[in-house]
């Protein structure tokens, strides 16, 4: 039989999805997210309320944390389902930055106390590295064993964070967020804003040191890339739905737009791509969840494959959504642009699709040309 793990959704995953979707339908209407995207406050009351609901009522921050460390002892597969739902709504909560990026790094680096607090929602984490290429120790920081200094640009999830995980040359530090100077900058995606983070000689606690930091960072990077694909999948599915629905209603030249075969075929191609995105995103989530065996050791391939595929599919889906909505999609009032901006920055986050394809060459043993 096939060596491939289940790429379907288990019943427990379907149940979780339903719960998240019901809550978001109620508390995270797209109009409010659109409205907040234009506000000064990088983490406003509305977003905080959604986060509270997700964490306190549904326990989503605990899913991937082992039960013995205060988590729910589920797996990254369930986290992936939550990400699909958040991607569908471009929801402006720090789930990816805290419950995926910071949580995976805390877990891999053995930051057990922080991990427990992240799981319960007492702490919200962020990793201080550029969101476009995180989880390598950023240049620009100095660490003398006691205090950390310097600036890191374009860090995601800082405004929401209580705890900052800071990778430096050969250590991983943790700093209370209020110790850092975070300068919010206008972000291409205002539903997940970036900031420039400056430390002016801040005392920091060491979470891990030595070669294991590099190992933890690398595995955390793979986990994050693998999981981001599910956010991209959810986004792609949602914009395809929005587009199909719009084309079924909008008339031009006396016919609904959805009856024009050129548009039908483009959407058929897009749907086909989305089915592929679903398969690779599920595979990435399955590899992320595996603790040993061939699936676990295929995580790097699965993660880069997922980013190479889902990054492009989500972006194409969002751009088609914009194009096929015509002028109306181009207005600020219509939410189409939120999806375009998220899809475009997601295709930069953690490496572009083309970067991941090059990485696959190395992972798959395809020699570079001379």
């Amino acid at each position: 039989m096939s060596q491939i793990p289940s790429l379907l959704y288990a019943d427990v995953e379907d149940d979780l999805r339903r719960a998240v979707r019901v809550m978001l339908a109620d508390r995270a209407p797209i109009e409010e997210i659109l409205d907040r995207s234009d506000q000064e406050d990088a983490y406003g009351k509305g977003a905080r309320q959604i986060w509270s609901g997700l964490v306190e009522e549904l326990g989503v921050a605990a899913l991937a944390v082992p039960a013995e460390l205060g988590g729910a002892g589920a797996s990254w597969r369930e986290v992936a389902v939550v990400l699909e739902e958040l991607g569908r709504g471009v929801v402006d909560v720090p789930f990816f930055t805290s419950a995926v990026l910071a949580t995976s790094l805390a877990h891999e680096a053995g930051a057990i106390d922080l991990l427990g607090e992240l799981a319960t929602g007492e702490a919200v984490g962020a990793v201080v590295a550029s969101f476009a290429a995180p989880l390598v120790p950023p240049e620009g920081l100095t660490w003398d064993g006691r205090v950390v200094s310097g600036t890191v640009r374009t860090v995601a999830g800082v405004a929401e964070a209580t705890h900052l995980l800071v990778p430096v040359a050969d250590a991983l530090l943790v700093v209370a967020a209020e110790q850092a100077d975070a300068l919010a900058v206008p972000s291409l995606d205002m539903t997940r804003r970036v900031a420039d983070v400056t430390f002016e000689g801040v005392e920091a606690a060491v979470v891990a040191e030595g070669p294991e930091v590099v190992v933890a960072l690398a595995r955390s990077a793979d986990l994050a890339a693998a999981l981001l694909a599910s956010e991209q999948l959810g986004l792609a599915e949602r914009v395809l739905e929005l587009t199909v629905d719009y084309l079924k209603q909008r008339r031009q030249f006396g016919r609904v737009l959805g009856s024009y075969q050129a548009l039908k075929h483009r959407l058929a191609d897009l749907w086909t791509s989305v089915t592929q995105a679903r398969a690779v995103a599920r595979y990435a989530a399955a590899c992320a969840s595996a603790t040993d065996g061939p699936d676990a050791s295929d995580l790097s391939v699965a993660a880069s494959l997922a980013q190479a595929v889902c990054g492009e599919v989500a972006l194409r889906a969002a751009e088609e959504c914009l194009q096929l909505h015509g002028g109306i999609g181009f207005t600020w009032e219509h939410p189409a642009h939120l999806y375009v901006k998220r899809a475009r920055t997601d295709a930069l986050a953690l490496g572009t699709p083309s970067w991941h394809r090059r990485r696959l060459a190395d992972l798959a043993g395809l020699p570079h040309p001379a």
Binding site: S2, L7, A268, T272, A279, R358, L360, P367, P369
Partner: protein, 394 residues
């Protein structure tokens, strides 16, 4: 191991013990396997199966293969196994099933399909080959085309027009045709690769007994749809290993031949590698859906994406080969051997794979199916469904 698995292992062991592969005649072995219900375990008992779930089959095949048992050469009878058998199982009488299915599975009798005509390609329901009732038989005249395996086949699935004054979809009937009947003329059809993989079949006053009709008179379109549905399901399920399929050759060339590693083609290679792996996982996911009895509509999308991949991979291989790609191996008219994929140059595959987006439903038809049946977008305006077939512009 589950009870079912234990029982299957016992049955397999029984066949292998009673008919040791190394000393048993090939056909004798296959007939014994069929009789033991191990041909296709999801078929009914008495027709090669045990009425089990289809997901047990791959393990059964694997055990027989590991024991060195002969297989039924499925490549040489794809239409029989994939399309004719399920149709016969659904529409034929028990007596006909007993007559047709055992030699079909063992490969003693090959099947083909006579659906397409020169004027009815994507639009199969426009078929014009006529069948006129004459006593307890029908007299068939017309021309069919794109018939793979017809020169090897004993039986054909035949779609003909029995009611030319009815609207096109309502005037068709469906028969099983014995290709040894007088008036059947199978001619090879040469294609752009040089070889003759397909045939034209001319039918000149061919008598087909009415008892060989599957479905009612005028229900030919419904039975045809059932046959085609089996074709598309067959394309989907399951997945090979990484780098199997059309990507395999080009990846192998890249690995083994340093001079083929052209910097300007590296990105294209990686894109295809990624596409291939995504399709492999998509096929695997569809297979898993089939296993739990929830087939998805992904088959149509897989078929069209697979065609694009196969075409692009063969074309890239030519680029990597450079000068050598200007050569061909053999243009002589010949019949391909269906028992295994032929060992041909990259140029052959470049040409052959162009058909992937035409045969078995064009990519354009796949896109119509997806947009209309999956996405629920409006059907194309039709002007041909309500008027008598004979009055349609041809």
């Amino acid at each position: 191991m589950t009870d079912v698995a234990v029982d299957l292992a016992r049955r397999i062991e029984g066949v292998l013990t009673a008919h040791p592969p190394e000393t048993t005649d090939r056909l004798e072995f296959l007939r014994a396997r069929f009789a033991a219900g191990l041909a296709w375990v999801h078929y009914p008992e008495g027709l090669g199966g045990l009425g089990l779930d289809a997901r047990y089959q791959p393990d059964v095949d694997a055990v027989f293969a590991a024991a060195g048992a002969p297989d039924n050469r499925p490549h040489g009878n794809v239409i029989g196994l994939g399309m004719a058998a399920p149709t016969v199982l659904r529409y034929a009488t028990p007596e006909q099933q007993q007559r047709w299915i055992p030699p079909l599975w063992t490969g003693e009798e090959i099947w083909c399909q006579l659906f397409s005509e020169p004027g009815a390609g994507s639009d199969l329901a426009a078929a014009g080959a006529s069948a006129r009732r004459d006593g307890d038989a029908w007299v068939v005249n017309g021309q069919k085309v794109w018939t793979s395996l017809a020169h090897d086949a004993r039986w054909a699935l035949l779609l003909v027009r029995t009611g030319p004054t009815l609207p096109k979809h309502q005037g068709l009937s469906y028969f099983v045709l014995d290709l040894t009947t007088p008036g059947v003329d199978v001619r090879s059809l040469r294609q752009l690769t040089g070889e003759a993989e397909f045939n034209e079949v001319f039918l000149d006053d061919v008598r087909v007994p009415d008892e060989n009709r599957l479905g009612e008179i005028g229900e030919g379109w419904k039975v045809t749809q059932a046959t085609l549905m089996n074709e598309r399901v067959a394309i989907g399920g399951g997945a090979g290993t990484r780098e199997s399929g059309p990507i395999g050759d080009v990846v192998r060339l890249w690995r083994e031949s340093p001079q083929a590693r052209r910097p300007e083609n590296f990105d294209a290679l990686l894109r295809l590698w990624t596409d291939a792996e995504a399709l492999r996982l998509t096929g695997a996911r569809l297979g898993q859906q089939l296993e739990v009895g929830a087939p998805g509509p992904e088959g149509s999308g897989l078929k069209l994406a697979f065609a694009e991949l196969a075409q692009a991979a063969a074309s890239l291989q030519l680029d990597l080969l450079g000068s050598e790609a200007l050569r061909y191996d053999d243009w002589s008219l010949r019949r391909p051997d269906f028992s295994s994929p032929p060992d041909r140059v990259a140029g052959y595959w470049y040409l052959r794979n162009r058909a992937n987006s035409i045969e078995g439903g064009t990519s354009e038809i796949m896109r119509n199916i997806i947009s209309e049946r999956v996405l629920g977008l409006p059907s194309e305006p039709r002007v041909d469904t309500d008027i008598p077939w004979k009055d349609l512009p041809k």
